[in-house]
Symmetry: C2
Subunit: 222 residues, 2 copies
């Protein structure tokens, strides 16, 4: 019975994700699902991406947190539409589901948007199991988390299109092997596109922004 | 119906946790549930604790991972009983449950043990929801994860007895406020015992080991 219910949850989540994907195709809106462990730098990355892309595209953000609106507050300076989901108001949930994203999208004027960035709950496990109808899944891994995470959390890395290897400004102070992490990345997902970055200093972001701008233009026709 | 099933899961998990607690009381075995985000340093900490405590106490380890036996392999040098749970063999699960711990305990000779260390799945959310029948919940937070995690993941910090604030060797290279994180810790759980440590250098571990040795002696009578 438990397994049956879980299958129902995944199936209804996937159906709604398909509906969202169809809606965003019609509206020509690109959507990113940004995922990582707690404290890997998702909000600082979102901040940098908005800063770099808002001159060219109309952006909105969906902020997922279990508790607090701290991340949304950090992004408020950009003066773009932001909707906060606090999952503790539902049941302390450890991921976002497509039905909640659908409700958030109803709160945006999709005819006047090009890009929606979803900042998912800080969790390297559960969010990977829930499709949200996005165009690109981006996983952030900070180099302070060690080289083994891609093989220890395979679904997250396997189901993502893009990897941002963050906090490279700290490399001089860590015993960290870029060769080893890249070998683990390739073994888990040979086609994932990887960008080493520092959200703190901005290093590596030109390439990320160029990659995203190209993908957004392909969909929006801008 | 979904909520009913979830309640059933939590209730049966708690019943088994109570059964484990009774068994460990009878056998005079102390059990620690070590939890954190991915990459916060649980395995390096476990390694240090075993090294410092194995002269005085008989120790066994339960290693939780979604995939791989890497962590167990790192601890193999200590020549103590280690049982690995790979949750991907069940359903990719994001936490450990008491029924699995019960089975692991059956694999140990409890009459000849003083301490069991459970290294939970790297996840700051779901493991907090599942009681395992342990004596002490220890949450590890690395300073690279930012100051806001205690208020963003309140259940984990609220339900833990002890906090190891890890990777303090990196503090000179971070913009990190110890005052701010401690304020967030106090606001979430005023009674949690906090130890700033570096699993890499060993700084701060004397105090942690003294604290644990005292707690283990209280239970085992050694």
């Amino acid at each position: 019975m438990e397994i049956k219910v879980l299958q129902d949850i995944f199936e209804s989540n996937r159906n709604m994700a398909d509906e969202i994907a169809a809606l965003l195709k019609e509206k020509k809106v690109y959507m990113i699902d940004l995922m990582s462990s707690p404290g890997s730098g998702k909000t600082t990355i979102t901040d940098r991406l908005i800063g770099a892309l808002k001159g060219s595209f109309r952006i909105a953000v969906i902020e997922g947190d279990i508790k607090t609106t701290k991340d949304a507050e950090k992004l408020a300076k950009h003066d773009i539409p932001i909707i906060q989901i606090e999952t503790a108001r539902f049941s302390g949930d450890c991921h976002l589901e497509s039905s909640w994203i659908r409700k958030c999208l109803d709160g945006f004027d999709l005819d006047n948007l090009d890009l929606v960035i979803i900042e998912n709950i800080g969790n390297l496990v559960c969010p990977a199991e829930f499709q949200l109808g996005d165009d690109e899944r981006i996983v952030v891994l900070s180099v302070t988390e060690g080289e083994d995470k891609p093989v220890k959390y395979p679904l997250m890395f396997n189901s993502s299109h893009t990897l941002l290897l963050n906090k490279i400004d700290l490399l001089p102070h860590l015993e960290y092997s870029m060769d080893e992490v890249m070998e683990n990345v390739r073994r888990t997902n040979p086609t994932i596109v990887t960008f080493p970055v520092s959200a703190k200093t901005g290093e590596g972001f030109d390439a990320v922004v160029a990659h995203l701008a190209r993908r957004i233009r392909e969909k929006t026709g801008k």
